[in-house]
């Protein structure tokens, strides 16, 4: 049994104070490319206070369904993004997962991929979920490649869900089943399996 659930080679999963989360998110939210890769609602400036009270309210209202982590680098313990299971349906053993790397200098280097592998291990080997789902905007090809690498399977696209800069884009759905995760990661040499 692996008890080192929250630590990989590049990143570790940490639970931070809502205020710390809000301070970072406030900065990332001003990067409109980051926002538009991660959110379907319109970009708008958000104060630290507004984000903090939103985070606190979410945790208070939906706490048993939420498993939210900050992503830190192993090398220098820097907070670079967040990842979370945002809505576990316990009676169906399923959850959606969401991830964002706010610090641009860490894009495209495997930090997000490893954080996703860590949260999947948590979902399947600690929460005992049967399935994890996600959706991603069709123009976010970097994220789609990362999810494919992790083992998510394409399950279809909701057509033209987003309108951005005068064009319509699909919402891509992907999922991974418990048995697919076991087949891929069991006995994994990089220590990302059970």
């Amino acid at each position: 049994m692996n008890n080192n659930l929250f630590r990989g080679k590049l990143v570790k999963l940490v639970v931070e104070e809502p205020q710390t989360v809000a301070k970072h998110f406030h900065r990332w939210a001003r990067d409109t490319e980051y926002w538009r890769l991660a959110n379907s609602n319109p970009v708008r400036p958000c104060s630290v206070k507004a984000i903090q009270s939103w985070v606190e309210k979410e945790l208070e209202e939906n706490g048993v369904e939420l498993f939210e982590f900050s992503i830190h680098t192993v090398a220098d313990d820097r907070l670079i993004g967040d990842v979370g299971l945002d809505g576990v349906r316990w009676n169906h053993s399923e959850s959606f997962v969401g991830i964002g790397i706010g610090e641009r200098e860490f894009w495209g280097q495997g930090y997000g991929t490893e954080a996703m592998q860590l949260i999947l291990r948590y979902a399947f080997s600690e929460l005992n979920l049967q399935r994890v789902s996600l959706n991603v905007f069709s123009y976010n090809s970097r994220a789609i490649r990362s999810y494919e690498k992790v083992g998510f399977i394409h399950e279809g696209r909701a057509r033209n869900v987003l309108q951005r800069d005068g064009q319509r884009y699909d919402l891509v759905f992907m999922g991974i089943l418990r048995e697919e995760w076991i087949a891929r990661y069991h006995g994994d040499g990089n220590n990302l399996g059970d």
Binding site: N91, H92, G156, R159, Q163
Partner: protein, 189 residues
């Protein structure tokens, strides 16, 4: 489309608001039918008392007022105003013109009479011609083929199949995501 044509009246049924005095008793009865609850909700089936239902009505109307992303209707028989079900447009995403749609007919005796199809026709017209939405989504469990049939016949296309996303009755089922674009709906009118 004629402006004189009612958005709320179909041949046998109509879309109407909640009746806070009368409806809760009927709806409480429906919640004791686990078969119905499993068709309309992913939450564990759990009967609700009349007062719990009344509280939910208040919550629904408050949400409608405050968030402005929900349109909730009751379905009633035109002949005698009898409550037969509910319909709603929810999670409306105004900036992208999207929304979700669902409906339920509470009493099995009121199903298979075309009331669902009449409701869906009204609701689509409301979504596309009154709210001016660009597209609608419907989430339908694999174990509800009657609903899938209803939405597919109205022009929806199956877009996503979340494999084995649900567990009911001791086995796992897919969750179907259906979608309909305004332009597709318009060509069918």
């Amino acid at each position: 489309m004629k402006i004189s044509e009612s958005l709320f009246l179909a041949q046998d049924i109509c879309l109407a608001p909640i009746d806070h005095e009368q409806d809760a008793e009927i709806e409480s009865r429906w919640t004791h039918d686990a078969g119905y609850m499993r068709l309309i909700s992913l939450s564990p089936a759990l009967p609700q008392s009349v007062s719990q239902i009344k509280k939910r009505y208040e919550k629904t109307e408050k949400e409608q007022e405050e968030k402005r992303n929900l349109f909730y209707f009751t379905i009633r028989m035109r002949a005698d105003d009898r409550l037969i079900g509910f319909a709603r447009l929810y999670w409306i995403d105004w900036s992208n013109g999207g929304g979700f749609i669902e409906l339920g007919i509470g009493d099995p005796g009121d199903r298979r009479h075309g009331y669902g199809a009449q409701t869906l026709r009204l609701l689509l017209r409301y979504a596309f011609d009154e709210l001016n939405l660009y597209r609608l989504s419907a989430l339908i469990p694999e174990y509800n083929p009657a609903a899938a049939h209803l939405f597919l016949r109205a022009g929806f296309a199956e877009e996503v199949r979340r494999r084995q996303a649900l567990e009911r009755g001791g086995r796992r089922w897919d969750m179907l995501h259906l979608g309909l674009l305004h332009e597709e709906w318009a060509t069918l009118q």
